[in-house]
Symmetry: C2
Subunit: 350 residues, 2 copies
């Protein structure tokens, strides 16, 4: 089983809760510590115009991490493709793949936050088309060794060759976030790895793993459970008081994301990964009680075991506290029971 981290730094730590509540350099130390402790990957968000300094130039931050780490895989979760020129994006991805010596996981998305579409002056209705076009463009850019030209209603590129070459062939793995059955099955068909969100309750995760697996098997392809990264709230709480504090922190975070994701001017829900959770109706605490890696070491272990039984083999922990002690506690007291545990995933239907 593999364990990674999900989150990001905050240039101006303030009262508002975003990711790890750590500055750019402190968060770098946090990732270095995670690397030493055996965490296998670190995934960075990309967000714009939040007003509370979530990582915006995520690929630059990952480039920085490439310089200060040597083993941990580095992922974007996710690069919102419609904001980017596909040539410049492909060059950045290839450069990071070089800098990290092939440790980059290219997480991609269509975007879901209404404030970002509004900010960039892009119609959310175009997101899917731009995404599909840019991904197809980049797949060619990563593999084409001769000069080529490209023309569409949206882009014109002439006699280009996208450099540098990537290290991982044919290109860094592409990971997409998906929540609905349709989008999960489409991810499998399109050759994407899968990122599952942190809001869905445990039970829903099993269904989603099964949908992805089923679609792959329909195509006659093997199912590799490591191609699914399941993000989970990470809330180390060794007593009732810590549990209460952890719920307050995560409740604020969930509320903020919901505000940024919805805007009456846009049908934000179309791409919103928090679509399927019950946070608004049942309160944010239940999101964590029913889906987070929460509690003392014993309880966290039980929750990891629950995910394991549902077919999950790759958990991405999203810590809001920025607490190095929690990072240690999980690595030393929970992880050892699972890292070498890799029974075949039993399909829910069996």
């Amino acid at each position: 089983m593999k364990f990674g981290l999900f989150g990001g730094a905050q240039a101006v730590p303030g009262e508002v809760v975003t990711e790890a509540a750590l500055g750019y350099h402190e968060y770098g130390e946090y990732i270095q510590t995670a690397e030493k402790l055996g965490y296998e990957s670190a995934w960075m968000v990309e967000h714009h115009f939040t007003g509370f300094s979530q990582l915006s130039a995520t690929l630059n931050y990952i480039s920085y991490l490439s310089g200060i780490t040597s083993k941990i895989r580095l992922g974007s979760a996710v690069v919102v493709v419609p904001w980017h020129n596909p040539v410049l994006l492909a060059e950045q991805v290839a450069t990071i793949d070089q800098l990290s010596k092939g440790r980059y996981d290219f997480g991609i998305g269509r975007g879901y936050r209404a404030n970002e579409f509004n900010g960039f002056g892009i119609d959310m209705a175009d997101a899917e088309d731009i995404f599909q076009e840019s991904i197809a463009f980049m797949r060619r850019a990563f593999t084409e060794t001769d000069r080529w030209s490209y023309k569409s209603d949206r882009y014109t590129f002439n006699d280009i060759i996208v450099e540098p070459p990537v290290v991982q062939l044919p290109h860094p793995p592409m990971w997409v976030g998906a929540g609905s059955e349709n989008s999960i099955r489409a991810a499998a068909r399109n050759g994407f790895n899968l990122l599952l969100d942190q809001m869905t309750p445990f039970e829903g995760i099993g269904d989603r793993v099964q949908q992805y697996r089923d679609e792959l098997e329909k195509m006659g392809k093997d199912f590799d459970p490591y191609r699914i990264g399941v993000t989970r709230g990470f809330m180390v709480a060794n007593n009732d008081n810590e549990r209460k504090e952890a719920h307050i922190l995560r409740g604020k975070f969930i509320s903020e994301v919901q505000v940024l994701s919805t805007d009456k001017r846009y049908q934000a829900k179309a791409f919103n990964p928090v679509d399927d959770n019950d946070a608004e109706t049942t309160g944010t605490d239940s999101v964590s009680e029913n889906g987070a890696v929460l509690g003392n070491s014993d309880e966290m272990g039980e929750r990891v075991q629950k995910l394991y039984d549902l077919g999950v083999r790759n958990i991405l922990l999203h810590d809001l506290s920025g607490n190095f002690e929690g990072l240690h506690q999980f690595a030393e007291e929970v992880m050892p029971h699972f890292v070498d545990k890799n029974d075949p995933v039993v399909a829910a239907a069996e």
Copy 2:
């Protein structure tokens, strides 16, 4: 006096000569070595579609360098503004300023290579307008703390706030490359620092320093010679054979840049910094003989003294060899005679 480096890495070292002939990680070690030896800055090129892997995602490379260095200033030379979305560019610049703890020098340009305009499907005739618009946009983005909106024929951004904040106030210094008297005087008027090219002979450099100074003084502003970075070929040659080899290497480089810069379909010369040199008519060797920091330690010292006498206080050395020994030799045998030498610049007209 200050000494820096100008150049970049090459992901796939090959026969073609580009910058330092070093790979991404070797070049990182080269910059770390330069930092230890007392070089004050390192400037990275940005180029696209060359076919020989010049740095393309330059701001990612600089982000990487931010992680593996602590003291040396890091510059782009230059980010070609018309290729970039100004929001994403401002976010990247601010992120690098954070990652480097205020060590970033934001070198910017309009572009001059015909193959890049063609590649990006941008008309060279629009370059000046895009450049002016984007720079004005970014100056506001770096200093605006409230949400704001922007609309032009080219861009629409709504309710944005560009994050993270920059470290250097009001924003990282902006440096522009300029060659003609008009563009040098305009740089002074627009508050830009100045980058002078490596092709212009020594004599021409004195005139350009004087034009920049004169324009500042006309506005009643003080002249600071450190605001001019003068790039020079860096060719350590301790004997005739090494001199010959250095000329061959640099001759190839100059020829390649000229090919990429000119295209009958475009008026590439409009922005071409090699405009004013005599390379084509008198051969590439004379470019170096009349303008490079060339020779053994004594001769390099004489050439630095010549630049010093012309009013230059900040030299950026462009090494094609990637030779760590040359880096040491200059730092140990030439630099010490100049680092503490800082007489006021005597105006040529005096």
